[in-house]
Symmetry: D2
Subunit: 354 residues, 4 copies
Amino acid sequence: MASKRVAVIGASGYGGLQTLRLLHDHPDLSVTFLGGERSSGKRWSELTPFLPLPGDPVVQNPDPDAIAAAADFAVLSLPNGLAAQLVPALLTRGVRVVDLSADYRYRSLQTWKEVYSSEALALNRGDEDLCAEAVYGLPEWEERRIRSARLVAAPGCFPTASLLGLLPLLKQGLIEPSGIVIDAKTGTSGGGRAAKEHLLLAEASEAIAPYGVVGHRHTSEIEQIASQVAGQPIQLQFTPHLVPMVRGLLATVYCRLRDPGLTADDCSTLIRTAYRDAPCVEVLPVGTYPSTKWVRQTNRALIGVQADTRTGQLIVMGAIDNLVKGQAGQGVQCLNLMAGLAATTGLPLLPFYP
Amino acid sequence: MASKRVAVIGASGYGGLQTLRLLHDHPDLSVTFLGGERSSGKRWSELTPFLPLPGDPVVQNPDPDAIAAAADFAVLSLPNGLAAQLVPALLTRGVRVVDLSADYRYRSLQTWKEVYSSEALALNRGDEDLCAEAVYGLPEWEERRIRSARLVAAPGCFPTASLLGLLPLLKQGLIEPSGIVIDAKTGTSGGGRAAKEHLLLAEASEAIAPYGVVGHRHTSEIEQIASQVAGQPIQLQFTPHLVPMVRGLLATVYCRLRDPGLTADDCSTLIRTAYRDAPCVEVLPVGTYPSTKWVRQTNRALIGVQADTRTGQLIVMGAIDNLVKGQAGQGVQCLNLMAGLAATTGLPLLPFYP
Amino acid sequence: MASKRVAVIGASGYGGLQTLRLLHDHPDLSVTFLGGERSSGKRWSELTPFLPLPGDPVVQNPDPDAIAAAADFAVLSLPNGLAAQLVPALLTRGVRVVDLSADYRYRSLQTWKEVYSSEALALNRGDEDLCAEAVYGLPEWEERRIRSARLVAAPGCFPTASLLGLLPLLKQGLIEPSGIVIDAKTGTSGGGRAAKEHLLLAEASEAIAPYGVVGHRHTSEIEQIASQVAGQPIQLQFTPHLVPMVRGLLATVYCRLRDPGLTADDCSTLIRTAYRDAPCVEVLPVGTYPSTKWVRQTNRALIGVQADTRTGQLIVMGAIDNLVKGQAGQGVQCLNLMAGLAATTGLPLLPFYP
Amino acid sequence: MASKRVAVIGASGYGGLQTLRLLHDHPDLSVTFLGGERSSGKRWSELTPFLPLPGDPVVQNPDPDAIAAAADFAVLSLPNGLAAQLVPALLTRGVRVVDLSADYRYRSLQTWKEVYSSEALALNRGDEDLCAEAVYGLPEWEERRIRSARLVAAPGCFPTASLLGLLPLLKQGLIEPSGIVIDAKTGTSGGGRAAKEHLLLAEASEAIAPYGVVGHRHTSEIEQIASQVAGQPIQLQFTPHLVPMVRGLLATVYCRLRDPGLTADDCSTLIRTAYRDAPCVEVLPVGTYPSTKWVRQTNRALIGVQADTRTGQLIVMGAIDNLVKGQAGQGVQCLNLMAGLAATTGLPLLPFYP
């Protein structure tokens, strides 16, 4: 089979870099267009001497016609609000899109505008139809729709780690829909590559701290999907923390069992069954708890489960690499499905430990 | 005023090292006996070239008579179960003791035996009376009793960070006593100085993972004190996580407000009022969240508060240095009170940032 | 082509783990025997839940007959002195060996005994012939001999990073053979997986320190190879430092140019030419300096060169991943050559950044 | 004695923060003016909630008249080139100055202009006289002149760690003046608090790399002082490396003994003797090598010495905290001398380990 042609737009941020690195090893997808605004006109090797690409391409202005001429698919790794400037033109030209930003994660444009109101450009959008059409790119839950989608919105990193454990429990009605607490922890690469004082090593090292307590944007994204799967509106508590490490994301989810007679093994079995055909999700034995180090630089999500018979609470832990299963890897997983390939094609699943 | 004489037993672990370092700068307390079993007979400078002590003392066998001859107070930094072998003999000889281990944190010896059953020596103890007599060394809540105590059990690091925020709320009945979730994060020095594979930099770096999910020993310690202050039995969820940093401990506590009309400012004010006379506790403005870096190498606890009006949940965050306010600094704070000094004498309260 | 069968002995240390991880993705080599003494009899998944191997093999006692029945090649990842207990029996049985320890890195058994005299078992060895026969497994310099070798001694991590830059210069006589200074820096995984106090995160983090100053064992290994290539005895200064990171090794080499008229570009070109056919070595443009992060989890060595026209000194910097090109990856590179494969088969060459 | 009044200008960078933190505990110096351009008009607690200052001062515009009205001394922590805009006006008004920048570290303005030509404002300066008058603030070598100085230029961090070990050897003529190699390693706080991509935790963590190879600005500063003490022009090799830690700086210095019969103990004794009256410098026993962790957050410099009888090389290792003895602590040490106090007044000398 001839290789499918992929454009990567926004190539020098972490999302773009990961996408390029993953596609470099991909047997059936090739990068045929490298786009970026700020780095337009520069040779790749000048920007990134440590990641040589075949032919040392020049970064190009992300012109829709040029992208459409060069590629069947586009992966967009752009700041929130910017992707939506480009997507309509790409779809019109027949380019199928995986967007790593938040621009198409909400079925309602109005909701997106409320959540992302602080972004420049947020207010000019009018593409309600594309918001409604876009598929939420969590392949374990939307595989069929992703396969035929024109536009896939890759989920946020926190939603991915939180939802994979929660959704089977909500779908089967095993847990109370209210009172759910998600305490999440992420490495600093989740904050992107642009220089910010609080992400300096001198500031972020030897420190752990919460941020965005109550009202972090990913709360609404998690609630949207959780509500949809549960079949009822869900409001939950989500608190992210910044951890002094480069990569890795852990969501520790607390919820109440509807039937206090259920054991951790029962719940673990249910979740394992739900992901029977999901090669990127693994449920650990009860008593083994996931470390982000076990999924570093892989597209795998590890889920651990424990229950407290005294309190009736279930603790569900989800670990991912925030830049792979939490971003670019999940994007490639979606791309694989859109291109008619097996979900894990070209994706690393085992870590190099330590 | 003549300096009070202090024995430090177990001097080469992190608890002992911190105690010695803090006492080195103390204006009114002097270390007059340095005890340790494994390092007995060695010069201090051989063991710890980087922390010269005046006179370069020789580490001595912790003989009760020798300790009593040399010191008015003893700080014990020994493995769980070992302190209880030494404490009765010290008290008999008139030495007042601050114990950094868990041996006297429970009012009931039976409870201690259940929780610490895996420790060697755990089963031989019969000192119910001392368990009942010992004062829980959280100075912000037991100052009066600590002042006159013969035996103070310094709290665990997780209980300290968790309880300081929770207790005022429980005492005033502002939160539901059930459903409390404590998601805690600690640096690796909390695991002590003895070499363990999972605490190697190569293993613990670039990783975050939960451990002791459901049933960690500090759960029962937290519940004991919380129940006592609330005036009713409390069972809660406590989950510790290992964070890739040396020092620092953050407890993120989730609880439900009894009156959903209460705001974060209301709760913040209540907690601030409770600690009006507590120089080691500071409540941050609502919207500012504590980083462990802000208390590194200090005896200060920072408390942050936020409320979610949608869910009625209150989030209380407590940050401490696990080896200072979470261990040796709190021990010295207790010692200060026992010696009739101001609580903060000789204790650092401001960090060297970054 | 049918897959070659490989035994991995000493599977739970970092060398063994890396070898298993690399061979897991290898198209032409399969692990058919998993050996270890302490973990003998245990299922792999119990030992290493995060790195599932096909068929979840049981770790076996490293019996030479069993190994020979199961495998064509063996990779030994054992403590110094232990490999030599096993190698003769394996060679006799027709198993070709890559040894990751130092046991066969010296052409003279006598030298080895002097350098490694502190190891248990060091004194009983009498296999001078095997020491003489063994090939030093630096594929960029011994490719032809490695292809046909029965026994390959994979180089140490420090020698690899130091020699790759130095050897072309010595061979061409561009630098003075005396006065060479190698200042090397390694991540803590170089100290192995066995728990040691100084490798704890709490001890090694937020610290850099030299160790083994004058007389570190790798000095003699570097000198042996440097002397051989230079055609004259070389004595040099080698100082390792422990860096607070998991993986990565940087050697900064200082030497004097024989002809002060030579530029950094001249030297860079010479080194680049020497490695024209070496796919795992890349020489950076003058002015770009190698970061260990650029080779993390790859089998690539990056070399940077700069010259000081004032002092006549040349600075040659070599960066590798100490566990891959510095250990297991180099072992697999040797295995590839021994099995008649391309040197880089199955080996990662590009990092996942950051 | 009444407290001396000190102005701190440039209060929100790391140099300013450290100075404020150190002066907070100082018994005889008080901060009476807080100056900054960007943060002018803001309350200190808004900028730095974690470091409460008495009275919560407002940051003021650094107007020379206002500074002179409020303070006897000024510590300037400003970008290179900016200090020289302010210093003449302060001196004229009778304010004695410790400048933490490089502006007055060279006796010749011309040299400074050559080295710092890339700085904005570099070319407008004409204060040759002040360059000639300024005292190099290395108190162990310039104590007498610092005591009476109007203007002290605190040394760079790399020069401090490099020179303390080198100078006694050069002064006594024990080492060859040519061929000296300084391989230095610093934590990332040395790069300052302004956000830069390469100092992000995601970029700098799990990495070590050289930078500024040949020609780093501190080379000329080291050479200037080394030449002066040696009484002959010295040119040496200086290579800094960025280490993944917040604080700490290690200089590993390689030099050749003039008399190969000299031992490490001889050299160690000579250096120890040189610093007999220097309370901030400690020479370790031969065989013990300094870790930056041993001086973290202290104003102490640790020096280790080892010799190689084979090669005739001496290795001198110097460890400091780059922000304390390498910057603000050294500034306060100078201030102490200028104010007629003991050198170590108010300065921490022992670390909180780990």
